[in-house]
């Protein structure tokens, strides 16, 4: 069977620089750069949006396109729709295509919903007769019966989107292209949209959709294409490709946080200690100040009789890692060097969410752990049996000070780590919990 959509070796380059840099004069613009056949300039002048993409979608298949931002998803849809031409390669589409790249593209705010339906329908390629036949369906689907004769500018954004979506799905194409527009209106309408798409699927239409909502992709699509920097990484069965994609995303995040930590370690050596807080009964900022600003620059203060030389986080298996899942066991290792013999030092940690919420803080003294004395190099570690924080980025602060609050070395807002959770819980942390269900069965009347 002929595929509904076939791409073979499709590449797309965009010019990187704004015209202004290239075109100094009007004459130059017309004569030099635009009129003559553009020679292929050095590769660096171009952004590669798509790189040698080949795939074919069989009729009746719903295919999802996933990938990070700027991976070429929307460009791919536009190339399939014929809105932009590929720089090289070929695209074949059999059947009538309808695009839903933007809801309500071409609506004119000054004229009524009714007139906009006719115009938008014409733009999407529907003959007037068919629009007239489907007019009532379109209006009913959009739930705009009472407002259809008011100018579109009086519509709420939800009404606007409902109308746009309703027209597009009523075009009844063979191939429907959708770009991240299913976030339309309220939950009830979104449900209707999904039902419409299921209906399309049942009738054997081909759908190609771009979405960041992996849940929606999983529900709707049999096949998924994963784009990364314009390259087709994987195309095939949905669950398999989504799995691979998730793996890569997680892997990327791990790497990013590990790099972040390495950078922090480099920074740590370069930060000079700030001035000591005035001696006396005054409390130290570390203890007093709940951070006011969401993100503060990294700070370091203290006399450095004990100097913290490295901070490492590890998972239960001793693997160095800076992304954890909620509830994991975490080790925090602090290496230090004492210039002279110090009696009874105190080591502490603090965890702040990046928006400034102080999530937790403790030290050896609070926990009743006595460090007798230190001299030279040493290491102290704290094991968090369970890190119950919810999905977010956090700062890890570490400190060494004396029992009467004389600071040796404070590292503040320097190290970061992240917690990832696949449950949509809300708040700061997850207390260990369980639900106890004791519901009485409703009485059945007449028994």
């Amino acid at each position: 069977m002929r595929p509904a959509v076939e791409l073979s070796h499709v590449s797309k380059l965009y010019r990187r620089f704004a015209r202004l840099r290239q075109l100094k004069t009007l004459k130059g613009a017309v004569v030099r750069d635009l009129w003559r056949r553009p020679k292929l300039p050095a590769a660096s002048k171009f952004n590669v949006a798509l790189k040698d993409v080949s795939m074919s979608v069989a009729p009746g298949v719903t295919a999802g396109i996933i990938g990070l931002n700027a991976s070429g998803k929307s460009t791919l849809l536009r190339v399939i729709a014929g809105i932009t031409k590929p720089t090289s390669g070929s695209v074949t589409v059999s059947g009538k295509v309808s695009t839903l790249l933007e809801v309500g593209a071409g609506f004119h705010p000054e004229i009524s919903g009714r007139e906009n339906i006719y115009i938008n329908g014409a733009i999407l390629g529907l003959p007037k007769r068919q629009i007239r036949e489907r007019f009532d369906d379109i209006v009913r689907f959009a739930e705009l019966e009472e407002f259809i004769d008011y100018p579109v500018k009086t519509y709420s954004s939800g009404m606007f989107m409902r109308l746009g979506f309703s027209i597009a799905v009523n075009v009844d194409p063979d191939v429907l292209l959708i770009d991240e527009v299913l976030a339309v209106g309220d939950a009830v309408f979104a449900q209707k949209c999904y039902e419409k798409l299921y209906d399309y699927k049942r009738r054997g239409k081909t759908i190609i959709m771009v979405s960041h909502d992996l849940g929606a992709i999983r529900r709707l699509c049999e096949e998924v294409a994963w784009l990364h920097h314009g390259k087709l990484m994987e195309y095939g069965e949905a669950g398999h490709v989504i799995g691979k994609y998730m793996e890569e995303v997680t892997h990327g995040e791990l790497k990013r946080y590990a790099q972040e930590h390495k950078k922090s370690v480099e920074v740590m050596a370069t930060i000079k200690s700030e001035k000591l807080p005035a001696p006396g009964g005054e409390k130290l900022p570390y203890k007093v100040v709940a951070p006011a600003k969401p993100v503060q620059p990294a700070k370091r203060w203290g006399t450095r009789e004990i100097e913290i030389t490295s901070v490492v986080m590890r998972d239960r298996d001793g693997e160095e890692r800076y992304v954890f899942s909620c509830g994991e066991t975490v080790f925090i290792e602090i290496a230090f060097e004492a210039r002279k013999r110090i009696e009874g030092p105190v080591f502490g940690i603090g965890i702040f969410r990046t928006d400034g919420v102080w999530c937790y803080g403790t030290n050896t003294m609070i926990d009743g752990v006595k460090v007798e004395s230190v001299a030279g190099r040493g290491e102290i570690a704290v094991k968090l049996k369970s890190l119950p924080l919810l999905s977010a980025s956090y700062y890890l602060d570490v400190a060494a000070h004396s029992a009467n609050d004389h600071p040796y070395d404070y590292l503040n807002r320097l190290f970061t780590f992240a917690v990832r959770s696949d449950r949509p819980e809300m708040g700061v942390f997850r207390p260990e919990h369980e639900w106890i269900i004791d519901v009485q069965a409703p009485e059945v009347p007449g028994r």
Binding site: V97, H108, E110, E115, L124
Partner: protein, 281 residues
């Protein structure tokens, strides 16, 4: 180009819908609505008539009729190209999000203004009939004005031909400007000012006859009359609506040929840049 014409024909319903959208949207929520199509040219005519008859004491009798006859084709032309210059840039949503032939957008600008032009002709004819017109020699000069009034059928036919000529000329220019503006937004401002110069350089507020009797340098005279396509169109309107003389067949054919060349060149420019619209808009 044939393919382009075919695809416009296939999208004729869309062209119609877009033109009616423009017409409806322009006067929407104004009290007089479509009446503005009649009132606008009349008001503009009144402004110039006041300036030239009251302040500058311009001596032509029935000057208002003369002004109106020249203003109408000019308004069609200048509004069309000024609208068309930004048509693709401001229609960016359609170009980027929907697949449809881009040449429709400048066409819609030209056609929308054609509708206004046709409506305003319905004012011109009774206006000239009631108010009267200057004598042919006052408009065209003594040499050109000798021919007798033409046969009405030929008069109407020549008018239709003039409209076709003006349409081709305007659309050609509109295509080129629309495409170039996508790449160089400066063009819309240049066009706006050039049309003002073009207006005063064309025999709209003064008759051709006036120009030949003054001490204007010959080169400028030739630029304003002989090498100015708008001058031919305006003079054709003067002849047809004020003097009831049809322009000569040869002149019309030459104009048609020239208009077609402009249209074709404009189309070439447009076609050259077509593929870049979706990326540059």
């Amino acid at each position: 180009m044939i393919g382009s014409i075919v695809s416009i024909y296939r999208h004729r319903a869309l062209v119609g819908a877009l033109v009616s959208r423009e017409l409806k949207a322009r006067y929407r929520s104004s009290l007089l609505g479509m009446l503005w199509s009649f009132i606008n040219p009349l008001l503009l005519m009144a402004v110039y008539a006041t300036v030239f008859m009251v302040f500058l004491r311009f001596g032509m009798p029935k000057y208002a009729s003369f002004l109106l006859a020249g203003l109408l084709p000019w308004i069609w032309f200048s509004s069309s190209i000024n609208d068309a210059a930004v048509s693709i840039v401001s229609g960016g949503n359609l170009i980027k999000k929907v697949m449809f032939p881009a040449e429709i957008l400048p066409l819609v600008s030209v056609l929308t203004n054609l509708v206004h032009y046709l409506l305003s002709l319905a004012i011109l004819i009774p206006f000239v009939a009631i108010y009267g017109a200057p004598k042919p020699e006052q408009i065209l000069g003594p040499t050109l004005a000798e021919s007798a009034p033409s046969n009405p059928i030929w008069l109407v036919a020549s008018f239709l031909l003039v409209m076709i000529i003006q349409f081709l000329f305007t659309y050609g220019l509109a295509l080129a400007l629309a495409a170039l503006t996508v790449h160089l937004r400066d063009i819309q401002h240049i066009v706006l000012n050039l049309t003002t110069l073009w207006f005063f350089g064309s025999p709209i507020i003064y008759p051709v006859a006036q120009l030949s009797s003054t001490k204007v340098p010959t080169l400028l005279k030739r630029l304003a009359v002989d090498y100015n396509p708008i001058a031919y169109l305006v003079v054709a309107h003067h002849k047809i609506f004020l003097c009831r003389i049809a322009p000569s067949f040869m002149v019309l054919m030459a104009m048609l040929g020239a208009a077609f060349v402009v249209f074709y060149l404009g189309y070439l420019v447009f076609d050259k840049f077509r593929d870049s619209f979706a990326e540059e808009v």
